[in-house]
Symmetry: C2
Subunit: 196 residues, 2 copies
DNA sequence: TCTGGAAGTTACAGACCGGTAACACCCTAG
DNA sequence: CTAGGGTGTTACCGGTCTGTAACTTCCAGA
């Protein structure tokens, strides 16, 4: 039994948590609602009493992911209050840790790859949440006193995004193994260029 | 009719070409073999006479993609014979063009996101083909006389990979819009650092 | 103790999936 | 002209998918 999520919590929470985990591991189209409810220790009817469709469940899972990511940013601020540069380096370390954590990429990126219908409800929230993440990184770079904060933030974010898909295709020993070195080099380069 | 691929060629070629197009647009699990054969102007039995399973068709599509990508590299060499630096810049321009071409990312990365079974036959060829691509970029950087050619090649490749997933989630106006600037900056930075 | 709502159970509908069998056709090489 | 291989057609198999209906069970709160 690979359970554990089941424990004793409200069925809705168990379904959400189980779905997040299974979508992450097997992809969205690779998991049916029956499998989710069974793994969550409940049944299909209960799922459909709490979520009006699988699509809505997907959207809620993505939002839950974003909430967890947001907590990560808050943790950086708590660990290095006021020291934006230290927080930026903490982000890099955390990102590298996520690369080695498992061979699956970003859930939102994976979802976007799977859900191709241009008007799928998940596409809207993915864009919204990704833009929020980008905003946080830009703010962090700017507050760290780095010139061209937007460009650095966008470069770092593309680098990380690329590293996450690279582990999916080439494993952790591929180009993504150099992620920390690349990111640190970029920051050093941007700090040397202007402002300080 | 969005046909055109149908024309008059052997059924096998039509199936392969149609499948490549549909997998790219709608994802692998988003397309059934019935839909492929119908769009290719043939039928399911003919598909299964040429491919022993959908999985094998997927693998053949990925190989066909890699062949086309290989031709692209050859075109650079033909356009700027011997001038490796010019070829590197040509790659950047081509990459940027691909970003704006359509909102779908790299077929191999998308396939890896969808086909999560660790022993899926496609995962092997994806890794193999991605490593070949990486090898070409490393060679190009090295032959262009750039110090730390591997690191530059890996950085550029992660950046591009990230840009491709970014257009899928945030569109062409997101961070990927700065791809050329980032890539050119990286090359300049690596050329200035050492060797020349 | 009674009651009402949340949750579980079973069965089902309707669609789609990958894959196969059996057979009719057509076109080309000999 | 004929034989045979590639192709098309139809029907089907067993399985899975999302989503629903009808009914029962359980449990907390009044």
């Amino acid at each position: 039994m690979t359970e554990g999520v089941v424990e004793r919590s409200r069925p809705r929470d168990r379904i959400l948590e189980t779905a997040r985990d299974m979508f992450h591991k097997h992809g969205i189209k690779g998991v049916g609602v029956d499998a989710i409810t069974e793994a969550a220790g409940t049944n299909k009817m209960t799922l459909y009493r709490h979520f009006e469709s699988k699509d809505e469940l997907i959207v809620e899972c993505l939002r839950a992911n974003a909430l967890k990511a947001g907590a990560m940013w808050d943790a950086f601020e708590a660990e290095f209050p006021g020291d934006k540069l230290a927080q930026l380096h903490a982000w890099i370390r955390k990102a590298a840790a996520m690369l080695n954590a498992d061979g699956r990429g970003c859930d939102m990126a994976n979802a976007a790859a799977e859900l191709t219908e241009p008007d799928h409800p998940a596409r809207l929230v993915i864009k919204e949440l990704k833009e929020a993440q980008r905003g946080r990184l830009v703010t962090l770079c700017r507050d760290a006193g780095i010139g061209q904060a937007e460009l650095l933030a966008d470069t770092l974010s593309l680098l990380f995004e690329g590293a996450r898909v690279s582990v999916q295709t080439m494993g952790t020993e591929g180009p993504s193994a150099q992620f920390v070195r690349m990111a640190e080099g970029l920051i050093a380069s941007f700090r040397g260029t202007s402002a300080g």
